[in-house]
Symmetry: C2
Subunit: 415 residues, 2 copies
């Protein structure tokens, strides 16, 4: 007899579903569509030459070790290098504070696994990163949304959320995915103080921190937290779990990221990872270390910044020129996304359907709001497409938006 | 104030602990210890040259795609190649049945995530693979142990276990980790029939299937299940989830494995993976495909077989010569492990302590028994060490065992 699989699944599986976004995005895979929907780095900036040289060196000098099983926490020289990198931003940590993960998505999953009981509340910005919601939904999380503006989470509204007793606060302070906003220094300080006051940890997700195209670098939340706590003897033991990644600096196809956490948390993360996948690819860790150890990424990031800055500027100029005046958008200082805001009552998912007919795509913003809202918003990626493609794509979006807005007007007049 | 992390963890985390094995194995990392404890492939058989060439080809021909984000289910040409490989064993599947995972450990984790509610029973052989227990403990599984002998799970005892209503049956039919046993053809058939009778799925874990050093290849459980069900129109929809890996044929440091399952199960696995780590390294998938596509692994596996056969034979000969007659062991037809059985009442963990002083190590067998027992058993790896090292290590173990057995006798006499 055919096995009745659907009756075998666990509770958590029955709640799984393909997201609306995934369904919509299938259409964006057609080759003639200009897609601002994904969150992909520009392949033009992948350092193929340096990467290939590193592969050869690793196989020649460390082949037997690089192809063998490795330790769960990660390749020690890589962890030590990340500890030094973290120290450059004045956060004193050692390799004991650091675990390598298979992308930041895996770190989000492990944080859910470690902390979330079914029904636990997590404080998030609204909108927030969809991947975090997907990871934590699997553990039965509920979300308290705190509103955000162009300066990030409106921290004045955080205290009420903290009084609910959430497990942790999740924040993307730099060039947030999806909105492109950056948390102001004043709000970062207030966030650290409030989290300490209520004893609630902070998960700081920082994939884009180095991708700043204008303005001054702002200190990370983990730095402000360690400052707030005073000297730690070189061993971080504060209130923040900090995530970053090689996906944006080197290449996402390697699936290499890292967590910085108090060592007692890192030890638990290592236990979770051992049960989940033993360890992250040894070869990829050796190669990333080989590419990065001489400081190459410090130089390489300048190329990434100038490439993405040009694309962002092109997109902003084209929007200014092509978008109807009823539509607004953010002007992010870095990262990979900007955020479009349609007039109240206009549904970005409906706009997407028409846009796809015009061969251009973006992500409607509603899915980034865990407790509803944001139907009139849209995430638009500027890192992936070349400037000429951006010009054509924004032109198509402008035509679509004008058409829909004029149609809306006609409908209003007829009623 | 210092954050009281220990009060923030979820229920599942509080039950996590470093395993006894991990604690013991720390000692085995000393460089002068001969370790039969790990489950490592021989680095001498890693195809460094072919791997290096594949890296260069991939970067030259597919660099932008291989370093970019990829699809969650895995690189399609690789999945199609695995489908053809599966077809060679007369199991008709398509790429829709296959998902790439970051090692088989990750497949075990996802199977737990998909199927196990807290308290669910899983039928396992006793002893069974420790990594599966670690993965499923995180989901609150309980285990029904079915005894095993040199022909694998004693399937006559399975029916009673199935009447308890378990979620699935977990079996490693070929050269099992830890015992080295192989499930006989008759028992495989019976297993398929009983699983069908009670409507209980089978998880078939087959990392070592191709590493046979003597005797005839036995048909896989997934093949027997599809035979039992009759023609499927080329699309597998049976009762078995089958796992295998590139770790033993190519290199474990890549973290590349695969699942074959009915496509409705594969779709759920893809959703679980998307939330857990987005996808497995694109680069590693491209490289594995490049290495394997021309049939190289078919040739390469012959080298692995002859290397491991020599090591197994050396170990068996040395045991014959050096081990005291009270100690028994299995003679596996393939794989990487054999299983030592000490006299009843002798504790392998105590033996290990003395063995480590004599600079040799193995894994005590108790941890492989989820419901207790097996204190007098030990897992001994023969794939990793060169023959001369095996000779020296088994000599050291023999001396240790003789010393302890003679001491036991003296104690008995004195009492």
């Amino acid at each position: 007899m055919q096995t009745p699989w659907e009756y075998r699944y666990a509770h958590r599986t029955r709640k799984m579903g393909s997201s609306v976004i995934r369904e919509l995005l299938k259409f964006t895979e057609q080759p003639d569509i200009i897609s601002f929907a994904g969150g992909l780095p520009a392949p033009e900036v992948f350092p193929l030459k340096e990467f290939g040289e590193a592969c050869n060196t690793v196989l020649k000098e460390h082949g037997a070790q690089a192809l063998q099983y490795g330790t769960t926490e990660g390749y020690k020289p890589l962890r030590e290098m990340i500890a030094r990198h973290t120290g450059r931003y004045s956060v004193q940590v050692t390799a004991e504070n650091i675990m390598i993960t298979s992308g930041s998505q895996q770190a989000l999953d492990f944080i859910g696994r470690l902390f979330i009981n079914r029904g636990d509340y997590i404080v998030v910005e609204s909108p927030t990163y969809l991947g975090a919601l997907q990871a934590w939904n699997a553990y039965g999380a509920q979300y308290i949304s705190v509103r955000a503006d162009e300066n990030g989470m409106i921290v004045d509204e955080l205290e009420a959320a903290l009084r609910v007793g959430p497990k942790f606060i999740y924040v993307l302070p730099n060039f947030q995915n999806p909105s492109g906003s950056t948390l102001s220094l004043e709000r970062r300080r207030k966030l650290v103080e409030l989290a300490d006051k209520y004893g609630v940890p902070i998960v700081e997700d920082d994939p884009y921190g180095q991708l700043r195209y204008e303005g001054e670098h702002l200190p990370s939340v983990v730095y402000l937290d360690s400052q707030f706590r005073g000297p730690n003897g070189g061993h971080y033991s504060g209130n923040v779990i900090y995530l970053s990644t090689f996906s944006k600096l080197l290449a996402p196809g390697l699936r290499l990221a890292w967590v910085v956490a108090p060592s007692e948390v890192t030890r638990k993360l290592v236990m979770a990872k051992q049960a989940a996948d033993l360890h992250t690819s040894s070869f990829n860790q050796f190669v990333a270390y080989e590419v990065a150890k001489g400081g190459f990424l410090d130089e390489h990031v300048k190329l990434i910044r100038s490439t993405y800055k040009e694309r962002r500027d092109t997109m902003l100029e084209m929007m200014e020129e092509m978008f109807p005046p009823e539509v607004h958008w953010t002007k992010p200082h870095g990262g990979m996304f900007l955020w479009g805001i349609l007039p109240e009552g206009m549904d970005a998912a409906e706009v997407l359907k028409v846009a796809i007919e015009r061969k251009v795509a973006f992500v409607p913003g509603a899915a980034f709001h865990p407790n509803g809202g944001g139907e009139n918003t849209m995430r638009i990626n500027f890192s992936f497409s070349r400037p000429d493609v951006i010009r054509e794509g924004i032109t198509r979006m402008g035509v679509t938006l004008k058409e829909l807005l004029r149609k809306d007007e006609r409908v209003t007049i007829n009623e």
